[in-house]
């Protein structure tokens, strides 16, 4: 009887398992307060860091295409200087997000770098 979970051809390490690739530790805080601390590889978007690690509260309907505003997050005030400014497309898309505040960003548009190690972001009450 074969085991229920079988082996893979494209076997990949869980994000965080491979210490050779550069990571940043990102804390995602749900609206209700639950915290998720995740090692996100450099180059992944904040959205991918959440969805690939099953952090709830980010929907990402358009899968990172900057076309839906359901990956909306609030960047903690202490970290806003560490993220590049939003481009025109993102600014336009944010109009459609729910409960936009200071620090509102679309997480699919922020690429993680090592300088974001320790960053805290919060999820809104709902994604539209």
């Amino acid at each position: 009887m074969r085991p229920v979970i079988t082996g893979l051809i494209n076997r990949v390490p869980k994000a965080g398992a491979n210490r050779n690739c550069k990571m940043a530790k990102i804390t995602y805080i749900e609206h209700g307060g639950a915290e998720h601390v995740v090692d996100v590889p450099e180059g992944y978007s904040l959205m991918e860091g959440a969805t690939k690690n099953s952090v709830p509260g980010i929907v990402a309907e358009c899968m990172g295409g900057c076309a839906c505003a359901t990956c909306h997050i609030y960047v903690d005030p202490a970290w806003r200087g560490a993220v590049p400014n939003a481009n025109d497309d993102e600014i336009a898309m944010l109009e459609y997000a729910s409960d936009v505040q200071e620090g509102s960003r679309l997480s699919c548009q922020i690429k993680v770098t090592r300088s974001m190690d320790g960053m805290v972001v919060r999820m809104p009450a709902s994604q539209g």
Binding site: V4, I5, L8, N10, K14, S54, A67, A92
Partner: protein
């Protein structure tokens, strides 16, 4: 024999999302996912784009981390293909002879790439792009080839052409219809897309079909067209659609026409058997209730959500606005609604800026919008079409 309260056949977008939604809805019963591939569920759109170009490695296109499935108590039965469904006994049997029992079955097996049927179709060097294995096989051969012929001017063919052109390959795209995207968009958009490809050096042979593929030592050497001309090719990529994977359902008595027919809750005509995603032929209100089969991630995910809610006894019916996207070079094409049956189009914006929208009308009713490099128009169109539909119902 293992039994699952909910057994899902298919580990693509639809099948994996059904399992994810069920656990998100706090479903406590047992869930099993049977997948033909050995890989854990991964995203398909990147196979003709970011994965093919090397921008994203496989771990970045996984839908969830490997550990997720065990953590959520979702049994992953990978590397197995279902060969038979016995609906009275509530059993499926794989081609290797394993049997699994189910309380409810969700058929999310998608489809297989339609194969070329002409002479030479089995030569080495002919590639399809449906699974990551296809993309890997293609990637292995790419370093050694220069001239590529892409057969099929749909989204897969165009996206592959763009990815390959960016890699510096010579690309000729052959399409039997008079224009690319003939099934999906209007002439304005087809011609814009073609112009963008030509600007980057892709050549087109439109309005002509493939007669045969000529080989040398068992490998492709040239593509012969029905007008008597031929194109030298080191490698061929074929993107001519899919055939829904529903033979097992048909053999079990399900109503199968263009895919398997399902109702608003995605039920097939076989009790306790649902079907979702690329294989599901359903009445879509955004096509004036015509039966359609949508090959898109949106359709897969939204139907998965409907089935999950139905199975946890929450009222649900599939009524989400269809939408779609395609990225080629730096062109972002996004479509809201279904343009089937349109009789008039209106262009908004200036095509020469490469940022514009095309509205599709049926009579005086807006039914769909194609947005090219205009995400603002896309989001607005989605809202407008959704609200417009709600108004007509109420």
């Amino acid at each position: 024999m293992s039994h699952f309260d909910i057994l899902i056949v298919g580990s693509g977008h639809a099948g994996s999302h059904a399992a994810i939604c069920l656990r998100q809805l706090k479903y406590e019963g047992s869930i099993g996912v049977i997948g033909e591939e050995e890989n854990f569920p991964y995203e398909r759109p990147p196979l003709s784009k970011d994965y093919l170009s090397g921008e994203k490695s496989f771990d970045r296109i996984l839908i969830r981390s490997e550990d997720y499935w065990a953590e959520q108590r979702i049994g992953m039965l990978l590397g197995r293909r279902v060969g038979e469904l016995m609906p009275e006994q509530h059993i499926v049997r794989t081609v290797s002879g394993e049997s699994f029992g189910y309380g409810n079955l969700i058929w999310a097996a998608g489809g297989v790439a339609r194969r070329l049927a002409c002479d030479g179709a089995n030569l080495a060097g002919i590639h399809y792009i449906r699974h990551v294995g296809d993309a890997d096989g293609l990637l292995k051969e790419l370093p050694g080839v220069r001239r590529i012929v892409v057969i099929g001017g749909g989204y897969v063919g165009l996206e592959a052409a763009a990815s390959l052109r960016k890699m510096g390959k010579d690309v000729v795209l052959v399409e039997a219809a008079a224009r690319t995207l003939a099934r999906s968009t209007c002439e304005t958009v087809s011609r814009f897309v073609e112009a963008q490809h030509r600007l980057r050096g892709v050549q087109f042979r439109l309005g002509v079909g493939v007669a045969r593929i000529e080989g040398r030592s068992g490998r492709v050497a040239s593509v012969h067209l029905l007008d008597g001309t031929s194109i030298d090719a080191d490698l061929v990529i074929v993107g001519i659609g899919i055939v829904p994977a529903v033979e097992v359902l048909a053999a079990a008595g399900a109503k199968v026409t263009n895919g398997v027919e399902v109702d608003e809750q995605c039920r097939t005509s076989v009790p306790n058997v649902f079907a979702i995603g690329d294989c599901a032929f359903h009445k879509n209100r955004y096509a004036d209730y015509a039966m359609v089969r949508l090959e898109s991630v949106q359709n897969a995910l939204d139907q998965a959500h409907v089935v999950a809610r139905t199975l946890v006894a929450q009222g649900a019916r599939y009524d989400s606005l269809p939408w779609f996207w395609s990225n080629q070079y730096d062109i972002r094409l996004q479509t809201a609604g279904l343009s089937i049956g349109y009789d008039r189009t209106e262009i908004r914006g200036d095509i020469s800026t490469s940022s514009f929208a095309v509205d599709y009308y049926k009579g005086d009713r807006l039914i769909a919008t194609d947005c090219i490099n205009s995400p603002k128009d896309f989001v607005a169109a989605r809202k407008k079409l959704t609200e417009q539909f709600k108004e007509t119902v109420d």
